[in-house]
Symmetry: C2
Subunit: 170 residues, 2 copies
DNA sequence: CGTGAAAGGGTTCACTC
DNA sequence: GAGTGAACCCTTTCACG
């Protein structure tokens, strides 16, 4: 169990006006929209829109543009949530674990946690057999692991492509 | 606790050749690349590349294109993993819960689970106070909830923008 | 922030192999 | 299935008001 800081960095967040938020929201749902169409959608001229987008991109609010692929269509039909505890919480222990877990492509997300377990992982696998392999060859082999608790997703209820912005606009 | 089917749908997955995978991989990391540049990157003529992309998009492998925003920059600096159990597992109970949870913009993902809890949610909030509000006004108010267990992410170790494809290519 | 025009690219055909 | 070439459309990006 960990008892550390709750905030890793002081990422200052900018203040966005209604148009900025409209731009972000639009790019969230359509990452490939052209600047001209985006401008029209938010009621701006193309040049003004382009200038704003530049600023937004440089500010770091936009972490990137990505095609979202379907795990299922790629053959990865199971999602597992894996809770893991380590034998200690020394910085070195955490770092070694984290470096190792980065190398496993099945792991889509990994959080260092407060609470009962040290890490929560979200992993995708093709099927139960694939999961067995992953558990044997990867999860159990990660350094310093003393406890693993896996459960499986039966269904995706919510899987939002993106983060928090809707909250501002709700 | 639930004991249901493990696979919701038979999503047949297509077979992709090396060029398809290169296209998908490229769009995964750069969702805004133009068809012309994409074609060059994968060693195809623009027209051939455009044809393939059409097929890929229609096949459903590509679920969409999105700008990935920074929660942190938007002021959402905490991530919580919330485990929830309901009072029963009748279809109606699940449906009512799921309809309600959809309406909460803080919930970025939600899985129906096998195992000890019925659902796992990943939610973002601004701070502890915001979490308290969420817990009081949203989580506790969701229908049929009998047990809630929250833990907090101290740090993102892995947060891949996308899914499974790297596994094929590793 | 908007306008307008110039310049450069991008997309998409029909056609060919 | 893939490449070529050309037409057309669209986009971006200035300088300026």
């Amino acid at each position: 169990m960990l008892r550390t800081w709750l905030f890793s960095k002081n990422v200052r967040h900018m203040v966005f006006d209604a148009i900025d938020r409209a731009i972000l929201k639009r790019l969230q749902s359509d990452g490939r929209i052209s600047n001209a169409n985006l401008a029209e959608a938010v009621g701006l001229s193309p040049s003004a829109c382009s200038r704003r987008l530049d600023i937004l991109e440089k500010s770091g609010v936009i972490r990137g543009y990505h095609a979202r692929l379907s795990d299922k269509a790629l053959g990865y039909r199971m999602t597992a949530i894996v809770h893991i505890s380590l034998s200690g919480q020394f910085a070195k222990t955490l770092t070694e674990f984290e470096k190792a877990v980065q190398r496993c492509p099945n792991v889509l997300s990994c959080y260092l946690m407060s609470g009962e377990y040290d890490y929560v992982l979200r992993v995708v696998v093709k099927d139960l057999e694939d999961y067995e392999r992953l558990h044997r060859d990867w999860l159990s082999a990660l350094p310093h692991v003393v406890r693993i608790n896996s459960s499986f997703a039966l269904r995706d209820v919510i899987d939002r492509p993106n983060t928090g912005l809707d909250i501002n606009l709700a």
